[in-house]
Structures are given as C-alpha cells and as structure tokens.
Subunit: 254 residues, 2 copies
C-alpha cells in the first residue's frame, strides 16, 4: 500500500512552496492536503477555540485531495487526523515555508507548529522551510532535499517523541543536508512607530535575527551559511531535565 501523506503549511493553499512539495510527494504516496485558506504566518502552535472551522474539499484527483480550512496550521492537522482522513497518516509534512524557521524562529512558526502537532499524534512529522521569503521563490532544490528527507523518514519512521525541523538555504545547488542542533539566537526587534489616520500611535513588529553562536560548527545556522540544509530533531517533552536536581536543591518547593 502506498503511504498516506498529510500535507499542510502556514502560507495557505495557493503558496508555491506547497505546490513544489506536493509535486514530489505524489511520486511517493497518496497525498491529502489540509491547509489554511490564506496565510497564517507567525501562528506557532495556536489553535482556534472561539470560532467554528470549515473544511472545503477544493480538489480531488488521482491520489490527491485538497481541503482548505479557515484555521491555523495546527487546526488543519487536528481536523485532518480526527475528521477528514479515513486512516491515520503515515507521515505529516508541513511546508515548504516561504522564509526561514531556523534557530529560535521555530518558536513562532506555524509550519513547525503543525509538525509538532503531528508528532503529538504519534505521526512522524517534518517541517520544511526555504530561506527565501518571496512569493516567486524557486523551490526546485528545496523540493529535491525534501524528497530525500521524506524518504528517509518513511524508511526509519523516526523515534517517538521527536519531529524534524528542516531549513534549506536558497542555494542552487544545495550542497547536501546535515543533522544539526538549533542555534542559540535572538531577534533584535524594532517596532515601527507611526500614527494612524485618526492620530493614534501604532506599532508594527519588525526586526532582524542575530546568531549568538557564530563560532559553533554544529548548528543549523552554521550549515545553512555553508550551503547545506539543516535537519534539527526537536523534542516534544518541554522539560529541562538537566535542571530538575538543581531546582530541587534550591528553595522552590513548598
């Protein structure tokens, strides 16, 4: 039986990154896309609790189904697994995102949130992102890397309690793909401050990323700068186990 692959993203059903990804996934398995009807950037692991969700079947032909949902990437995964799919998928693939989700950017990422949600449902899961924000980005190399990682995950299944955050440089060709750890970094925020037409001050988030470990040679940022895709295995367990003994010795317990 061909594997059943659930696909979502956070750029919406019309994104070029989704189209490029699906093109290679169709050669590997049956594909069901359940994705937001529009862009849901920066939605992290958010879910919709206040309003109802609609899922519309937009397309169905030869081993491919496409649903659009008026919700977040995580909503799409939940709705797919619990309502829309006839059986549990063998793999969840999220992306290919337009723009980086390396280092700490993964915390804000709906692409990564969707992959985490897959893993929370015991589905092997991968989030893919290309380091190019533009609508017309060339995803051909990213799709080649994605195909390799997808085949590896279908073969290995991935150990429980993890999912992969894969970032791909905007290089042609991409040199390869490396297992990496998440780089420590920070966003230097600059809020644009303006006045609206009614004279009220408003703020608009912007900023730039700073790698706090420019010397490290095992991070996602390192490999991306060298022209390699970076594969970071992420954990589902939020516990900082190293700190448990220390905190027990301090005065935190009561």
């Amino acid at each position: 039986m061909r594997p059943l692959i659930l696909v979502t993203n956070d750029d919406g059903i019309k994104a070029g990154g989704l189209e490029s990804l699906v093109k290679v996934l169709k050669t590997i398995g049956d594909v069901v896309i359940v994705a937001p009807n529009e862009s849901y950037s920066g939605m992290s692991h958010a879910i919709t609790v206040k309003t109802p969700l609609y899922a519309k079947l937009v397309k169905e032909k030869e081993g491919l189904k496409l649903y659009k949902v008026n919700g977040t990437p995580v909503d799409c995964v939940k709705l797919a697994i619990n309502v829309l799919l006839e059986r549990k998928p063998d793999l969840l693939v999220s992306g290919i995102n337009h723009g980086t989700n390396s280092s700490i950017s993964l915390h804000y990422s709906g692409t990564v949130g969707a992959a985490r949600e897959g893993a929370l449902n015991q589905v092997p899961a991968i989030g893919f992102s290309l380091l190019n924000y533009s609508y017309g980005a060339d995803f051909s190399e990213a799709a080649r890397i994605a195909e390799h990682v997808v085949r590896s995950v279908l073969n290995d299944k991935l150990p429980a309690g993890t999912f992969l955050n894969v970032n791909i440089p905007d290089a042609h060709p991409v040199k390869g793909a490396k297992i990496a750890r998440q780089s420590k970094g920070k966003w230097i925020e600059e809020f644009v401050e303006r006045e609206d037409p009614r004279g009220r001050k408003y703020y608009w988030l912007t900023g730039h990323f700073e790698n706090m470990e420019p010397e490290a040679k095992d991070t996602d940022e390192y490999y991306l700068a060298k022209g390699y895709a970076a594969i970071v295995p992420c954990h589902l367990d939020a516990t900082n186990f190293n700190l448990l003994p220390y905190l027990k010795e301090q005065n935190y317990e009561l």
Copy 2:
C-alpha cells in the same frame, strides 16, 4: 531598588487571575502589566505580523501601570520589553491562567508562550495556571503559591535557557509546590459537527485530556492530583540532543 516585574496573561486585562496575581506582586516590586485587551486563549507563541498593534495606558498609580494591547501574549511581551518599559524587567510573570496548562497543554498556551518569550529575552520568567476554567474561580491559594515561586525566582534568578511552567490545583488549601517533569499525555479530540444557518457543515474543537503515564510519580499530573502545585522547568532549546548521534548514523544526511 524594588524589582521591576512585567505581567501579562492570555485571558485579557479584566481576568480575575490577573488581578489576584498583581495584588501579591505589588507587595514585592514595581509592576507593569501589558496584557491583551480581550481573551487570547490557545494562541501559543503566536505573534501578530499582518496588522499594527496599539498599546493604551489604562491605569497608572503608585508603582503600577496597566497597558492593554490588541495582540497576543507574546506581542505584549515584545512590545513591553522593546517599547513600553524604561528598563529591562527583573522578572516576567504570566497568568494566573483560568484553566490548566499542564502536560502537553503548554504547547497551546498563550500563558506559557509569554513566559517562553520572556526567557528568550533573557528575563527570568514564570507562567502560572489554575486548574479551574470558570470566570469566578477563587485564586487566593494560587496567589499564595505564586508569591512563593516569584520570591524564589527573584532570589535565584533561574539558570539561563529555562523558564517555569507552574500549574496549581483548585484545592483549598494547596498542600505545597513540587518540582516536576511534564507528563506525557494526549488530547482526545472530538470535533462537534453541526450545520450553520446557511446549511454549511462546520466543526468546533473540543476534547478531553488523557494522561499517558498514570503510574508515574514525578510528573506535573501526579502532583496536581495529590493537591500540590507542579513547577516544571522548561527549556528554550528545541533540539532533541539524545537523537543527534542516532540520526547521523541513519540515512538522513545527504
């Protein structure tokens, strides 16, 4: 100098949990509240990128300032640290949330997202949640526990790269507070399926939590069931370090 304490939540500026928390924090330091103007439940680590943010100073008196923001809890933290506060806060406290954020619920939680954002900005940070969803919940015991944990964190500063997710049982009295690890659990989702007035099918997320480790005696769920608050140190680094050697040996790299 009295410590500067930044406070936010995801239930909005009018929530009883926020009021109870601020009451005890005022006895410890100068308090600036920067919180959503309404409830932002389930927003995780989401940020607002498509629309501008407004911050309105609602109240200012004797060592207390209250701003309301039309954004997520993480937006509030970013805006506070980068624009509204005169200096970096000594502590960020998020909550007290109306409802649990134990086990995997922390992934969906705006309360926890705000605490994580504080830690990403090198500010010691704590998220507090009470296991009672109702608007009129009694936060007196939760506030007592929160005061103890806040004083402990101000004293110890917390090691870098971590923040605390503290859940408090709806018990009177709460027996104490214990350092714990996050319990493995899952949400059994049940989407309510109905027809809207125009005959279109819609889905509404609901469900119940299932503890996958009911026998474990070191988890947040264990201590909460016994009547203790559970203090889980969470990491900022998403890397699943244990898996790096394994994945390098498999066929993932290219």
